[in-house]
Symmetry: C2
Subunit: 181 residues, 2 copies
DNA sequence: GTCTATAACATGATAGAC
DNA sequence: GTCTATCATGTTATAGAC
């Protein structure tokens, strides 16, 4: 049922998604939702939290596998992990990208706070990979990278010609070397 | 009043914004809106169209000014123009980024169609600037760049230490050369 | 061109039976 | 844990006076 809710939130945004739709998609009636969640806002909060968990877990898996690899390989693994969290691990992570602006302010504020942990993981990683670049610049580069990664859900089609591995390679290479061939 | 509507759509998303809010913010009553627009969807459509106009106009201005400059300067001018459309020219362009996913499918489909024109301008520009790179790769690089540019509205503060000119320079340099210092 | 009033309906949430 | 009501309210949209 959390999954059903997340899918609808992703598809229509927070306020356009009704509890009746969620209930129907989960095979129950609307009133029954309140036995599990005290409010619609709280339900959405749980969906977002789940999304963060998926991303954090993907990050740590990538970190374990590539801890002693060269910098470009490590970066590629983490880019691939983030994209995997978006495209392969359900609608929870995607909700952060599509439904964030349609959520009430209180929910947004909570989500931002919880996302900090994940973003700090990335900051530490980049500082570790590129010790010669100062941290302020690196923080900007991270935001640019995040923007590029998250916006892929607006145009990337996992069933298309380009695979996720290839997409990760393109984004990583663009991040490291720019467009110059 | 279009401006008031756009600001509210940006702040709360499509469906969380009510006609009463828009009317109040415009200094009239809700019923009066229907003398100007036939429906809420149509009102939002007009807001989005206005946003595209702003972006296209910014593009052409940048093109006129830098038509015979070297490639990096031309790219920088266009990046700056796009960011200017987002941060300096009102809430119409921003609506495309923040309120897109909370809008009804019909409105989304229209917006996508209308945005094609603007995206084609960019495709032509990049093909012109980087003739040595094949067009398929360049199309991917454009999508990555767009993602980075549009997502700046989630974190960039025009009143902060970093200026728009500096932001444009950082993004352009990252796009051309990557993070390596 | 704006107002008031209202129709017609959808929404989040609650109460109590089973 | 799910159901069937139902409440109270808010929503888009319309009709007609001014």
């Amino acid at each position: 049922m959390l999954r059903a809710a997340a899918e609808l939130f992703v598809a229509h945004g927070y306020s356009a998604t009704t509890l009746r739709q969620i209930a129907e998609s989960a095979g129950i009636k609307a009133g029954s939702i309140y036995h599990h969640f005290d409010s619609k806002e709280l339900l959405f909060s749980v969906v977002l939290d789940e999304g963060i968990d998926v991303m954090v877990q993907a990050f740590h898996t990538a970190a374990d596998v590539t801890s002693d690899a060269p910098a470009p390989s490590r970066l590629l693994a983490h880019v691939r992990a983030h994209l995997g969290a978006l495209f392969e691990n359900g609608p929870f992570t995607t909700a952060h990208v599509t439904s964030f602006f349609s959520a009430p302010h209180t929910v947004r504020a909570q989500a931002v706070t919880r996302r900090d942990g994940y973003e700090n993981l990335w900051s530490a990683l980049l500082n570790d990979l590129f010790p010669q670049i100062n941290r302020k610049d690196l923080a900007l580069h991270r935001l640019i990278l995040f923007g590029a990664l998250n916006s892929t859900i607006e145009w990337f089609d996992p069933a298309g010609n380009l695979t996720l591995d290839q997409l990760a390679a393109v984004v990583t290479n663009q991040f490291l070397n720019g467009v110059q061939p």
